[in-house]
Symmetry: C2
Subunit: 346 residues, 2 copies
């Protein structure tokens, strides 16, 4: 009797009102209700006002699912991060979410535990749901990313991939500043504790270090690679401690902090014996002791700009800009760097 099809359409008290209910209450067609909301001007102003009023009274809310089905407009964006527990991402997520919300989008944050396999699975799951994707420090191969990118508009963060819009920190300049800072403190032999081989940022940082060393006429030495964690940094401490460098730049803040702790454990004092510089200025860089001098990445801006770039590329007809966006880094000087006292056991 009440059920005509497989679904209940009877007057269920707890049912949420649809455009059909509004239409009936207004004496117009459902399509008119739809247009009253989505196509201003297409329906008579008075009619539209009446519809809106009735909709309000009924507590009508458009069903985003139903809207998305025919149009594909889910108003969802995905942000894939390699590790949510990495403080590097906190501000990035915040920035991205702010930008998304401003444009009336919802951000879906997916954590992939540093695994390319999980990343692929997460994307597979999320892709049909979202209109665009921001890949934060993706662990996937370039080609895998390219395949992805032709399914949905994509922006990559902290990585450059020709043909795909990307947003990165200007770490070349940042590295240069860090080196100048160390050189000004009379360091002449500087180490670099490398991060994961696969990391695009690591390559850039090391290259920038070598170039800066050339320009400033100091020596650089590479350590590692270290895992991008506290433990990874700590492991590098012995090698650094035994070397002749008087200052070290680490792949990122986590490694830098781990290194400082490792050095402390080995009896090497920071900054008296060795100065340490990190990258990113994550939460914790200021907390540790000594507080960490670091090349601060504009984290919130990175997230925000990535989303804005993504949205811009989604709406414009023209192919997205291909030049990577370079956001400025800034050297934050704290306690972990100091003037060189003497050459250590040269």
């Amino acid at each position: 009797m009440t059920c005509r099809g497989p679904y209940r359409r009877e007057v269920d008290e707890h049912r949420v009102p649809t455009i059909y209910d509004v239409a009936k209450a207004c004496g117009v067609a459902p399509s008119t209700v739809s247009r009253a909301f989505s196509r201003p001007g297409r329906v008579n102003a008075e009619t539209a006002a009446r519809i809106r009023k009735v909709a309000e009274e009924l507590g009508y809310r458009a069903n985003p699912l139903a809207r998305a089905l025919p149009t594909g407009k889910t108003s969802l964006l995905a942000l894939v991060v390699s590790d949510v527990t990495n403080p590097f991402y906190f501000e990035i997520i915040r920035g991205a979410e702010l930008a998304a919300n401003e444009a009336d989008y919802t951000l879906l944050v997916a954590d992939v535990y540093e695994s390319a396999v999980v990343e692929r699975k997460a994307l597979e799951r999320a892709l049909p749901l979202v209109e665009g994707v921001v890949l934060g420090t993706s662990r996937m191969s370039d080609s895998a990313i390219r395949v992805m990118a032709q399914q949905r508009p994509t922006v990559v963060l902290n990585r450059v991939l020709t043909g795909i819009p990307s947003v990165i920190t200007d770490n070349a300049r940042g590295t240069r500043r860090a080196m100048e800072h160390l050189v000004a403190l009379e360091h002449r032999s500087i180490g670099y504790v490398a991060g994961p081989e696969a990391s695009w940022a690591d390559g850039m940082r090391w290259r920038a270090m070598r170039e800066a060393a050339d320009a400033l006429d100091v020596r650089v030495q590479r350590f590692g690679p270290a895992a991008p964690t506290l433990a990874g940094g700590a492991e590098a401490a012995t090698a650094v401690g035994e070397s002749a460098v008087t200052a070290v730049v680490a792949y990122n803040d986590l490694v830098a902090i781990g290194l400082m702790r490792g050095l402390a454990a080995a009896g090497v004092r920071v900054p008296r014996d060795v100065s340490v510089v990190g990258f990113d200025n994550i939460f914790g860089a200021e907390l540790c002791s000594p507080s960490l001098t670091t090349v601060a990445a504009p984290l919130a801006a990175l997230g925000r700009y990535a989303v804005q770039t993504l949205l811009a590329g989604m709406t414009s007809r023209t192919p997205p800009q291909v030049r990577p966006a370079l956001l400025p880094a800034e050297l934050v000087v704290r306690e972990s760097t100091a003037r060189r006292v003497r050459r250590r056991r040269s």
Copy 2:
């Protein structure tokens, strides 16, 4: 010619295959394809196998939107956090996401910047999309939460709300352990730096402190309330420094760390002059100097258990358990607590 209705149904090369394509390729009805996937056993095993094979070849993927529209099964869960940049949440998010993924759900993390207004807006946006909600440290009123909860299955984290499933840390026990620890270190006058008035956890912690103080026969004194941030803790430092307490328990780790820095700035040494204990054991508690003794919350477990509880409540017919789930806290002793040396300027 090609377009019959408002949408293109022609053979577009780049179109993603649907059950209709699979059905045609198999010579069966779309409904059979649908059932082959969703209702194992309902269709003949051979037919099902053939359908699956063809689907595989065609690269068919069910469209989650289309599936969700009639059924309401979006496979999405929302986790609302008061502030994504708060390290308290990192592990919670991770745990929640793991549990969600295990159950083939995707987690939608919404950040509400500590604002009840934003929280309500975020929920309004996400609610029609998700099947259930975990409220992490909600800033909304009890009644607002209850209204929410009758629209979608809800679990609250770090808060108890009669009639709504909740998961919390056993901070009463944790507080007791912290007090016993301090008393064992001969502290007899202990302070509590309170958190936000509106915080449910704050009330619980303060109450547990008083009870423990009674039982252990020591005095407690309340400071604050402080904002739950580093700055908030730092502001409380003067009051604490001028008081007669020899040990302080802070509302959370952020406040504790801020307090330590404030004390340091005021020339009060931790732990020599004052011992400090925090709550939660966030990232950073171990990094700061001195490293922080804290009542560790089982963060990942909290997130994981909240999601599991939510999922359990969603599938079972019976009303969800009402007793709040108590997850054990553990006292992590580090450098910020030490034996009382002498009574400070009594």
